[in-house]
């Protein structure tokens, strides 16, 4: 593929369609409208925060540090969700992400690994992440296991191995470099936020500006058509799970640095958080559609809710109920608002103009 034809050629014709359609009803900008909806939710949450805690929000320095707290809270899940978004767009699902983080985190904090220094720890976390992802990929693409089953099995097995390696103990990280990732700022912005931004940017480029990304959408949309078009679907699926594993490896380092430690029970239920964030970000669970920015916004909505509940001293139970409600509401709103509502307006428009 040459450079000129690379960016989203599929959607081009609709933009230049002769009949004038407002961007609101334009199919191509549908994902942008979804994202705007999520930005609206985010703003609403922050407004609720301002109303309920005006004393805190009146302090500029506090607001600044609160934004970074929300971003840091979102950073680990955000990185996982980027990988998850690729897997889901490619028509799969990865239930093992939390377990991979635990295994990679535990593996990279064993005493033997810590002796190798931060470089060795980072290498171990990334290699374990990719390795487990590759095993998932081989099982699913060449072993013909259903993704749900293969990654569910990996969830159990990887946590088991992590518990075995760590002897069920919490392994404290003594590396100043690793622990510093979460504690240090660079130019006033926490290092973890840079990592999140870098992973999101890389994911966006990979999905929207490379053959790999186009193929991912094609494989997820219709694997048979993709195969007939000459895409090696099996190898591509394998690569998607390896990519998700890589993201988990990065997330494991981030989480280890945040908690200054790793243990087999860490990153519990992160798979559900990542899937939920991707879904409310507009990624289709059956594959073929989704955006990285949408997923990031999904993660931010969740971490903003967590923050909002914390500063108002509300219990985690209420928070979980609200989270569940928001997942359902987000999907419902997207269906209603962006399909029927635009059709409804289109119909109305026709009646009034004709």
């Amino acid at each position: 593929m040459t450079a000129q034809t690379a960016p989203a050629p599929v959607k081009e014709p609709e933009h230049s369609a002769p009949e004038k359609r407002s961007w609101w009803r334009d199919d191509a900008s549908e994902s942008m409208r979804r994202n705007l909806g999520l930005v609206g939710v985010l703003i609403a949450l922050i407004v609720v925060g301002i109303i309920t805690k005006p004393d805190l929000y009146s302090d500029g320095a506090w607001v600044r540090s609160n934004i970074f707290t929300i971003l840091e809270l979102a950073s680990v899940i955000g990185v996982v969700t980027v990988g998850m978004t690729f897997v889901i767009i490619g028509g799969g699902i990865d239930l093992s992400v939390g377990a991979i983080i635990a295994l990679a985190g535990v593996w990279s904090t064993t005493l033997a690994t810590q002796d190798l220094g931060p470089g060795g720890m980072i290498f171990c976390a990334l290699a374990v992440g990719i390795g487990v992802g590759v095993v998932n990929g081989i099982l699913i693409s060449y072993g013909r296991l259903v993704a749900f089953i293969a990654t569910l099995a990996m969830l159990v097995a990887a946590r088991g191995l992590a518990a075995q390696l760590s002897d069920k103990q919490t392994q404290v990280s003594n590396s100043d470099f690793i622990n510093g990732l979460a504690a240090n700022d660079f130019l006033g912005v926490p290092v973890l936020v840079y990592i999140l931004a870098a992973v999101v940017a890389a994911g966006w480029v990979l999905l929207n500006r490379t053959t790999f990304g186009r193929r991912t959408v094609a494989v997820g949309g219709n694997p048979e058509a993709a195969r007939l078009a000459g895409i090696n679907v099996k190898r591509h699926t394998l690569l998607l799970y390896a990519l998700s594993g890589l993201c988990c490896g990065i997330a494991a380092i981030m989480l280890t640095s945040q908690a200054n430690s790793a243990q087999a029970a860490m990153a519990n239920l992160y798979e559900l958080d990542a899937i939920a964030a991707a879904i409310i970000g507009g990624t289709l669970l059956s594959g073929g559609r989704g955006t990285i920015i949408g997923s990031l916004l999904g993660v931010l909505v969740f971490s903003t809710i967590t923050n909002l509940f914390a500063i108002n001293n509300l219990s985690t139970e209420v928070q979980n109920m609200v989270k569940g409600g928001i997942i359902v509401a987000a999907v419902l709103v997207q269906q209603v608002q962006f399909k029927s509502l635009s059709q409804f307006f289109a119909k109305n428009n026709k009646i009034t103009t004709s």
Binding site: W107, A112, V128, Q169, V172, Q258, A259, N260, S261
Partner: protein, 352 residues
């Protein structure tokens, strides 16, 4: 076809790299410290009183859940180590598996081996109550460790920690410190453990009850999940919610690793922190006195060692030598002790 050799070379390189990475990774799984440490199990030194003298041979059966938490791991380790100190004890342990049903099945095989006595940390006291009754019926005394059976007929001895008392001790320490600093209405934070567990509720109740008596209240309470990463997340949120704090109680020292990490990351140091359970790292931190952690209230897995000692006495039909009674009492609730910088050195050997 021209590309074929290229491809195979690339594959060779890739394969070689993967193998190398694999070899390096497998080398990284070791957790053996470079210099041998003391083992760290908590045992009662034998030989100080008459009960330590070898007596009748007894077989102690033991079962505890296979948990992913440092505290339970310490329970099993302590029990084994304590049994090892007695020449007249044969120690039989069965894997309890992942849930109450698995533990019940494992215990059936233990009963079949006819041990003199069974020491049991059940997954759930209520669910394994029936097993306790059955074993007692069969003439095998049961020592319940920490998670109580509702039915008094289901156990010979119950030894457990004091969750309510932990909250009380933590609150007492905080009240004392606040009075010493002349803080009239302190901002107090609490980071609890898993909120759905009864023990967490008891701890929080003890904490708030005691604070209320002193006219203090908890300004913000977050519940983590006994793991360091959740501790860090909840602590980060709590610190954000309370820009200025005077005292913080964290229920569990394992999750405290994450709580302390969050405090360092947020650059906060204006408050004092009290921990819970009494892990070795927490005790060392308190002794070093370089962080906000000034004290921890115990919920020590040393109770497993005591349970084995008492089980031996029950099986040998002896009493506790310091008491007048000729039999071991039926119920023992450990006091929750407060470890501070002053007494930390005494507790180092009890840290897990």
């Amino acid at each position: 076809m021209k590309h074929a050799p290229d491809l195979s070379r690339r594959r060779m390189l890739l394969g070689g790299a993967a193998l190398g990475a694999g070899a390096l990774l497998t080398a990284c799984t070791s957790n053996e410290p470079d210099e041998p440490s003391g083992g760290g199990a908590q045992t009662v030194a034998a030989g100080s009183n008459g009960n330590a003298a070898p007596g009748e041979k007894v077989t102690i059966g033991f079962s505890a859940p296979a948990a992913d938490h440092g505290w339970i791991a310490a329970i099993t380790k302590n029990a084994k180590a304590q049994a090892g100190t007695y020449s007249d004890v044969e120690f039989k342990t069965v894997e309890a598996g992942g849930d109450a049903a698995a533990q019940r099945a494992a215990l059936q095989t233990l009963i079949a081996q006819k041990p003199s006595i069974i020491v049991l940390l059940p997954h759930d006291g209520k669910e394994l109550n029936a097993f306790g009754l059955e074993a007692m019926e069969a003439g095998i005394p049961v020592v319940n460790l920490d998670r109580a059976f509702p039915d008094p007929l289901a156990y010979r001895l119950q030894i457990k920690g004091d969750n309510y008392g932990m909250g009380v001790s933590a609150a007492h320490y905080i009240i004392e410190q606040m009075k010493a600093k002349n803080v009239a209405s302190p901002v107090i934070g609490e980071i609890a453990g898993m909120d759905e567990l009864e023990l967490t509720q008891e701890r929080s109740k003890g904490f708030t009850d005691t604070l209320t008596q002193a006219g203090f209240k908890v300004a913000n309470r977050r519940a983590a999940r006994f793991t360091a990463d959740t501790g860090q997340q909840e602590a980060a949120s709590l610190l954000q919610a309370l820009p200025k704090m005077d005292a913080l109680w964290n229920h569990d020292d394992d999750q405290g690793i994450g709580v302390l990490a969050a405090i360092t990351q947020a650059n906060r140091s204006e408050f004092i922190m009290v921990g819970g359970a009494g892990s070795l790292k927490a005790i060392q931190d308190i002794q070093a006195d370089k962080s906000v952690l000034k004290a921890t209230v115990t919920y020590s897995p040393s109770m497993a060692s005591s349970a084995i000692s008492l089980a031996r006495l029950i099986a040998q039909n002896k009493g506790m030598s310091d008491l007048v009674e000729l039999q071991v009492p039926k119920e023992i609730i450990l006091a929750s002790e407060t470890i501070t910088k002053e007494n930390a050195s005494n507790y180092l050997k009890l840290g897990f």
